[in-house]
Each structure stands twice: as C-alpha cells, then as structure tokens.
C-alpha cells in the first residue's frame, strides 16, 4: 500500500508538469491549428535562459526566473508566431508540421552549441525536505509542483472564463470569423495564446528542470508526452489536458511498478491509439470542437 501511494503521488507530481506542457500545446492548437512538434524544446529552453541569467549575467535566482519567463515569451511566443507560424498558415498543415520539426532540431542544436552538451544542475525552487504520508515519502518539491500546476490551471481557467479577454480568446478559438464580426481583435487573441503557451512552457521548465536537469535533449521525451496527454485528455479542453498529463504520469509509474518496466513507454501510446480511434475528442473532451 505504501508502495502504491508512493508511485501514485510521484506520478501525480510528474504528471502535473506534463500537464503544463500539454495545456500550452492545446492553446496553440486551438488558436492557430498549429501542432507544435517543438513543444518539448519549448520546455527545455527556458531552463537555459535562467542558467544564462544566473551564471553569465550574475542575476539572483528570482530575477533570472523573471528574465527567463520574459525571454521565453518573446522568443517562444512572439517570434515563434511572427517568424514561423504566421508566414506558414496559408500553406496548410503539413509544411507547418515539418517547420516545427526543423525548429525543434534548431533549438536543440543551438542550445548544445551555445551552452554545451552536458546536463546542467538546475536550482530547485523549493526546499529539499521530505515528509511521510501513509508510508510513502513525498518531497516538498513534489507537493509544490502539483500545487503550482493546479494553481496555474485554475488561474488560467478563471482567466479564460471570467475575463473579457479570456472570453474573446475562447470565441476566437471556436470561430475566428464570428469573433471577428463581433469586434474581437482575433490577431491579438491568437498572439495571447502563443504568449500564454510560452509562459506555461517556461513554468513547466522551471518546475521540471530540478528533477530532469537542464539538458539540450530533454525535449525529445517531454514533447511526445505533452502531445499524448493533450490528445488523451481532450484536445479542446484545458481540464482535458491536465487530466491527460496526470493520467500519464500515474499510469507510467503504476505500469513500471506492477506490470512491466520494459514496456512502460508503450502504455501511453496504446492508450493514445485507443483514444484516437474510439473517442477522438478525448476522455474529457466535447465532440463539437473535434477536428478530425
């Protein structure tokens, strides 16, 4: 039982970070029908911005985090939209998929060239203390990861549902043409989606890098898991993405503990195929936003 609780709680903590990456992915998908194959690298890179702030520019950690967040929003939000997505939207889906794949190579190789190929220790945001709960050991970091992620999701949901800007963003996502007629500045709303995605990726990066360690190749796994989480949960739903992320985090650990470690990576994939074939709107998704 203690073991079950242990892997469950750890899975929730890791899953909450997957969820952050998955939510950003979902937002960009809704705003611009863009499947971002570089999403993993978007989570890898901000940690390096922080390291640059700390080690090269001599900033204190809090300032470096802000620096990393802003730089992420500029590079991964604004520039990504203006330089890559926008010029390519008229060309249809496939070229954009290819371009984001190329972007992922570019970000990975660029990080390696300019910061180095080795994994870097990354400062944790929370004390390394642990506590015991029903025989399971949980670290403060685990708990805080989960809480921060949930807080971000709740905040984002409130923003999207309760503020004018948030509702305009949702309208834009559902029907850009109608939103345009209603006087919504859709271009700006799409930009917001990209900025929020970049910010979420940065936060995911800050939370996961103390565990994952900062390394140029970190995005390879993360990006894939973000996709899977987003699709399993529901492509058009924020709560779907968080459910998908948590589910994968937990499922991965339970599989490895009780069923098979060799095939632990297979379970999310099989789930992914099953969901796409039998419930493409996702486990929590609603069918009207489905785009098959």
């Amino acid at each position: 039982m203690a073991q079950f609780l242990q892997v469950l709680l750890s899975g929730l903590s890791t899953g909450s970070i997957y969820a952050l990456a998955a939510i950003g992915f979902t937002l960009v998908w809704q705003a611009a029908q863009t499947v971002n194959f570089a999403q993993g690298e978007f989570v890898m890179l901000p940690a390096f911005f922080v390291l640059i702030g700390v080690h090269w520019l001599g900033m204190p950690l809090w300032l470096a985090l802000i620096f990393g967040l802003i730089l992420s929003m500029i590079v991964l939000g604004l520039l990504f939209k203006v330089l890559i997505v926008e010029p390519m939207l008229p060309n249809g889906g496939l070229p954009l998929i290819i371009a984001t794949m190329a972007l992922s190579i570019l970000l990975k190789e660029g990080t390696k060239q300019f910061y180095g190929a080795e994994a870097q220790p990354y400062p944790g945001l929370f004390p390394q203390a642990t506590m015991t709960l029903g025989g399971a050991v949980i670290s403060v970091q685990d708990v805080m990861n989960l809480l921060v992620s949930l807080a971000i999701v709740v905040g984002l949901t409130l923003f999207l549902n309760r503020t004018r800007t948030g509702r305009c963003m949702q309208a834009t996502a559902q029907s850009p043409a109608v939103a345009e007629i209603l006087g919504v500045n859709t271009r700006r709303m799409v930009l917001y989606a990209f900025l929020i995605n970049a910010a979420l990726a940065a936060l995911a990066s800050f939370l996961i890098s103390p565990i994952y360690l900062a390394k140029f190749s970190n995005g390879e796994n993360l990006g894939l898991i973000a996709f899977i989480a987003a699709i399993i949960g529901g492509f058009n739903q924020i709560r779907g993405a968080i459910a998908g992320g948590l589910l994968i985090g937990v499922l991965d650990n339970l599989t490895a503990t009780y069923i098979t470690a060799e095939y632990r990576a297979a379970i999310p994939l099989i789930l992914l195929i099953a969901v796409i074939l039998w419930k493409p709107e996702g486990l929590l998704g609603t069918s009207e936003g489905r785009n098959v």
Partner: protein, 326 residues
C-alpha cells in the same frame, strides 16, 4: 522532338547513376547506396502522403520490419530474394492494417497514431531479444550472391541496389501514372467527390498505406545487407521524421521529389561537414525557410522558377490580348 526529351533525360539520369561511383572511394559509394535505399523508402511514403494525402510517421518502422525479416531469414541461410519477398509481403499486410485508422481519422490524429505505431515497433524490437537480438541487434547478415557476381564488395552492391531501385521506381512510375495514380490523387484532393464518382476510397486508402509500407519494407530488405548490422535505434521515430523530411523537402506528390529529398537529407551533412556542429542548425533553418517560401518543396520551387523563366513570353501575349480588348 519533345516526346523524346523525357525518355532521353531519364536515360541520361540512369547513365549518370551507373557512372557516378566509378573511381570513387568506398565512402562515397556507401553514401550513394544509402541514398538509393532511402529513396525507395521515401518513394513509398510519397505515395501514401504525397499522392494520396495520408500522413504517416511510421515509415522507419516498416523499414525496420523489412530489415529484421530479411536479416532473420538470410541469417537462417535462405537467399536474399526470399527474405526480400517475405519483407515486402509482411510490410504490405502490416501497412494495410495501419491503414484502418486512416479510415476513421485524418491529419494530425493520423500522424499521432502512426507515430505511436513507430515507437511501439521500437519497443518490441528492443524488448523481444529472443527474436530481434534486443539492444544488441543482429549483425553479420550476408550480402546477396547473384549468379554472376558476389556483392560483398561495395561497388557490386551499389549496382545491385541500383537495379532494385530502378525496378522499384519503374513500378512506382507505372502505379502513379495508371488509373490508380489518378484515383490516389483524387483521394488526396477531394475524397468525398471521389467516393461519389465510384472511387472506392476505403480500399484505396488501405492500398495507399500498404503499397507505401511495402516500399519501406523493400528499403529495409536492402538496409540489412548494406549495413550488415541492425538494431532498434536504426528504425526509431527520428528516422521516420527524417524520411518525412525527405519527401516534403524534395516535394510531396512529385515523382522525383523523394529522390531529390533523400539526396539533400543524406548528402547535405557531407557538404556542410566543414561547419562542424553548426550544420544541423543551418540545415534546420534552411528547412524552415523552404517551408515558408515553398511549401511544395524543392520540386515546387523549381517548377515556380521554371514558370518564371518561361512566363515572360506568355505575359507579353497576355498584355497584348488585354491591349487588343481595350
């Protein structure tokens, strides 16, 4: 004269392929052989993606299935041709099965299903070491022994691969220029309309996957004796993305697109080698720029440039026509 120009160009290209490795070192010959092999795999994906509009991120896994089958059979002492036929048949059947999701979902969702399939293949190849050798892979596959020559040396193996390539390309040419090719394009352009005109889009979608996958299997059957070592990592998702890149960079839906794309993807690292660690960055940037300016790849770019070169004459006529009306 014009009707002889195309066959003449093809013959010229063939002659170039025959003469290319003359006097070259082993490395260049290996690169050429590798290019031919990947061209076959990319040609298959081009049928699925470029002609029929069904995205697949699993082409490397079909190469893998083909390579493992060929390796196991040739290591068991059977001739290469048997391994190759088994590989093509097996990948045809598996491709047919992978086509079923395409009947339900399209676009990005299909991309993810095929992506998942590729990774599952990797996991099976790695974990089932009683069959596949697991992480250690399989090695020491014999190269095919032809009646007139052994292909143990690199140059004969190049010509052997070239022979297979020419046959595969000719078959593909036949398919895409037959009524099937027209129906595949119809499936890509407007599946609903195609169905209403009597095109059995279900069967066609499955066939697009099956034939495309069989080409992947054929390429795998060549990789096995070429590298004489296969392991799961050689057929991981990254390789599928590489083949996809070949097709799109070359020009999806153009017959010569995948060959051009494979040449770029395989040869560019050689050309850019002097830039050391920067070449992947240069390469990635080039791909992004290409996708912005010519989403139809290099063939599309070439076509546009060709039109621009030949258009001035037409433009003059159009202007004159306008003037006459005024």
């Amino acid at each position: 004269m014009a009707r002889f120009r195309y066959p003449a160009l093809v013959l010229l290209g063939l002659a170039a392929l025959i003469l290319a490795p003359r006097g070259e070192g082993n490395y260049i010959i290996f690169i050429f052989t590798s290019w031919l092999t990947y061209s076959i795999a990319a040609m298959g994906l081009n049928l699925t993606l470029g002609y029929s509009g069904q995205i697949s991120l699993a082409q490397a896994s079909f190469m893998g299935i083909g390579a493992y089958i060929t390796a196991l059979l040739t290591l068991a002492g059977l001739p290469w041709i048997v391994g190759m036929l088994a590989a093509v048949a097996a990948t045809f059947v598996v491709g047919l099965a992978l086509g079923f999701p395409a009947l339900r979902v399209k676009g990005h969702f299909l991309a993810f299903v095929t992506l998942a399939f590729n990774t599952l293949f990797f996991l099976v190849a790695r974990n089932e070491d009683w069959l596949t050798g697991g992480n250690y892979g399989l090695s020491g596959m014999p190269r095919p022994n032809l009646i007139f020559a052994s292909t143990m040396k690199n140059l004969p193996f190049y010509y052997f691969t070239l022979g297979v390539f020419v046959v595969a390309a000719a078959l593909m040419w036949w398919i895409v220029h037959s009524p099937w090719g027209r129906a595949f394009k119809g499936l890509r352009e407007n599946p609903v309309r195609a169905e209403s005109l009597g095109v059995d889009t279900t069967r066609l979608t499955l066939l697009a996957f099956a034939i495309g996958s069989a080409y992947g299997g054929l390429a795998g059957a060549l990789v096995s004796p070429l590298v004489q070592y296969i392991d799961p990592g050689s057929f991981a998702l990254g390789i599928s993305l590489k083949i996809l890149l070949m097709v799109v960079v070359g020009g999806a839906g153009y017959f010569y697109g995948p060959m051009l794309g494979a040449a770029i993807v395989i040869l560019l690292p050689e050309v850019l080698r002097f830039t050391e660690g920067y070449y992947l960055m240069i390469y990635a940037t080039a791909v992004i720029v290409l996708m912005v300016f010519s989403p139809r790849g290099l063939m599309g770019l070439g076509e546009r440039l060709w039109h621009r070169l030949t258009r001035p004459a037409r433009q003059v006529r159009a202007d004159m026509a306008g003037g006459a009306q005024l």
